[in-house]
Subunit: 550 residues, 2 copies
Amino acid sequence: MIRRTLLACAAALLATPAAADQLIENVDGVRIDEDGRIDRFTALLIDDGGRVQAVYDRDDERPRDVDYLLDGEGQVMLPGMIDAHLHVMGLGLAQLTLDLSDTNSLDEALAKIRQFAADNPARPWILGRGWNQEKWGLGRFPTAAELDSAVSDRPVWLQRVDGHAAWGNTRALEAAQITEATRDPAGGRVERLPGSRVPSGVFVDAAEELVQRVVPAPRPAERDLAFQRAQEVLHSMGVTAAADMGTTIEDWQTFRRAGDSGRLTLRIMSYATSADTMELIAGARPTPWLYDDKLKLNGVKLYLDGALGSRGAWLKQPYADDPGNTGLPLMSQAQLRNILVRASNGEFQVAVHAIGTAANADALSAVHEIADSFPGDRRWRIEHAQIVDPADIPLFGEHGIIASMQPVHQTSDRTMAEARLGPDRLDGAYAWRSIAATGAPLAFGSDAPVESPDPFAGLAAAFTRTDAAGQPFGGWRPEETVNREEALAAYTKDAAYAGFADGRFGRLVVGERADFLLVDRDPLLATPEELRKTRVLQTWIGGRPVYRAE
Amino acid sequence: MIRRTLLACAAALLATPAAADQLIENVDGVRIDEDGRIDRFTALLIDDGGRVQAVYDRDDERPRDVDYLLDGEGQVMLPGMIDAHLHVMGLGLAQLTLDLSDTNSLDEALAKIRQFAADNPARPWILGRGWNQEKWGLGRFPTAAELDSAVSDRPVWLQRVDGHAAWGNTRALEAAQITEATRDPAGGRVERLPGSRVPSGVFVDAAEELVQRVVPAPRPAERDLAFQRAQEVLHSMGVTAAADMGTTIEDWQTFRRAGDSGRLTLRIMSYATSADTMELIAGARPTPWLYDDKLKLNGVKLYLDGALGSRGAWLKQPYADDPGNTGLPLMSQAQLRNILVRASNGEFQVAVHAIGTAANADALSAVHEIADSFPGDRRWRIEHAQIVDPADIPLFGEHGIIASMQPVHQTSDRTMAEARLGPDRLDGAYAWRSIAATGAPLAFGSDAPVESPDPFAGLAAAFTRTDAAGQPFGGWRPEETVNREEALAAYTKDAAYAGFADGRFGRLVVGERADFLLVDRDPLLATPEELRKTRVLQTWIGGRPVYRAE
């Protein structure tokens, strides 16, 4: 028996034209429509499930009856930005550490350290970064004793601005059992007090590890707090979804705790830090979308080589500034192919970190070799794809391999890349347009916390190839820019596609989740300089506000 | 604006007396009512959320309008049985291994092994248990060559019925690199072919580990399958909820995969295998109830001592059959108290495995020492509480410490317990009534897969203290029986209370989840012998059928 009353009600509801919840009216809307083209609109209707129910132009008739009406006051509405490559917990944990990069003297730094310790009484270690004794005009490294004068009740461990040295207090040195007998490790130096063997408190390069290894892993409560901070930072910058590259089991559990307790707002496309972790998390197949399209483990992130700056990127030819060194692969050809096959057997997606020409060639070849054995919708990803031999670029298009690239890396790295490669080997460097021209999807991201997660800086870099100071004039190898529309797509719908999220979010089309921003300027019209100053006024995810500017 | 149509519908629905979904009519119902007393009823109304909406006596007026009507045909309806102590994945993985305990000859065993391998072509190792060369009339151990004749394409590894020996084929020995040069480990013996050093294929006691260490951990797909089998077995026996004692991160992820994909039917109250695993899973606090009250991590399970059979239980006085040996604690007093405090700081529940008199005394003392520092609803648990010094029993009541006990262990262990303790030290052995008399809650379980998870066998043992054969006549120390109503409560509402599930399931009272059984006899009326033959006809969880007898 079916209750007649309920049937009658259902019929009544279906007959009501306005089954919608929220109308955001009077916006200058920009979205990517069903055909992938830029579409302008003036109002958005959101259903009570938080999905886009309708998009209106100025003259379209509005529904007569809605639960909530927001006047957008003519502000620009954009789809939520999707960062295709960052490290969520790395970003969050960085928010919990002390930043000394704005200090101008040792005394100022010590005062800031003292205050931070007082503000964080429960934290067992005080961790930080950003000090620079040159900027302080100190003329020498600081000492453990000086740090003790600020904090002596707990270990303190602070990285230099460049990460190539770190400074500890006496408690930190004791925890690491550092004594006069401690020797310098290969590739590192323990600084000593003048005229003695007594460690001064500063550890250079490989010597940092002598103390770093005893720094305790974050406690669960710290992880939860770090994750909330990461969400806050991302939402304040207009990021509503992100691919987390290298999810550990601890990271995953943190995401799930947030989801289980209703505190998960960021949409996360997760790539496990290893094949074992991938299977520990997901089992034999990728997870379903969890928490209303907020979390999904898609597959695994692999490291095929290192970075260009440290000459760890694996090149076909030696470094121009280090002849005889080509960098090294971090996995053998067999290992890479084995994991590709293992993951693909389980329908998992594989994202391969490849920076140098040899690494990119090997990643592309590996996909080429096995692609026929794994038909279907695989969406192979290469992360960074920074320096690709032009001869190899067509393979991106041939197999629809997603190039997951970070526009700001190009502007940060350009002089270093010129030094490492020399002027004649830059044709496939940060080659956004050349790769896109093969028909391969481009997905853009930030690599935060390595760079700021600000997507508007990324958009500006993407269509100019100039940095925040407008340098170099006219852009670095400007033939590799993409246009504004392509850049916006790479930060929205294509980043969603890269994470198997198309149809769920990324475009503000009917049926997708209503993830959007209100911002104070139009990214298709603003100068690059103006665009970098974009102020995010509101960030909404799934039809709910998650950030409002003060 | 609120839509008028919806309001009108809500009002119409509220005015309709029958907002219910399912009526189970014509049952001989037994439940534990709001006051903890046995209550008889004849019909159950379930709302569309799967909760009990009403319970009716014969003469109560029924709702006129329901979605679904089931005629119980006069069968006995019981609350779903809750097992307060078992190992879900251990039970499930045991279902995937070959059981040779019913074989009567080597040839019969080899045929069964051959068939099992053929039925499981994807399984990389064939694992099994239960062989007994004495029962086979073989007069010697079987050999690897004999096993090779059944399966030679993969390793086979089979435990003897008592677990004190295991038998491998040549592939298994090769995988473990067993050769003539392999020496007998301390406490173990590698069987050799007559007149030679060549290992024969059987490994006794500690030598089992030589091969066991190379048996691969189950793959995720196997874990998922094992979990489904565990659920099937439990539901077929009438178990609807269980406390999982010693959840690993792999176990937890398996439960979550089932929950995420809608395959989780068993309600699981989880106790992590270590404090670190507890925090990895849950973070700083216990998880919320997940998947509509199907899964929650409550806290941690600790091992304070071993078992009586192997003389690992920690006793105040030496074993009667091993003078000078008192067993050993597996944790120091400081370790136990540190973990109790760490867990309690996070509002986690602690379940301490304690078998022997000294272990129980230490667990009780530890709670006694810290109980004042952690007020509130703590529900300290002692698992097994098998042999307790009568002088220590009052502490259960003083702190409301839950005694989580397994009735069938008493009937299985009684002759062994008599041997280990001697006739004069049995006063606090399996002392259900004495512990309950202090006012402490009793929660009953099976310790599956150590014993069968059949709760009706447990109920029968609980009020008789006789085994399946009715031995010993009159019961072993029958003054420690509980009555049928108490036994039923310990397998339902009190097991729920022990897992912080009271108010959610366990009693079939209004508002709780509709978890119930239809069985073919009445546990309050059947003879013990009949009760052990109870046939579960249907098992329902959350208002949905999860098992029907064929």
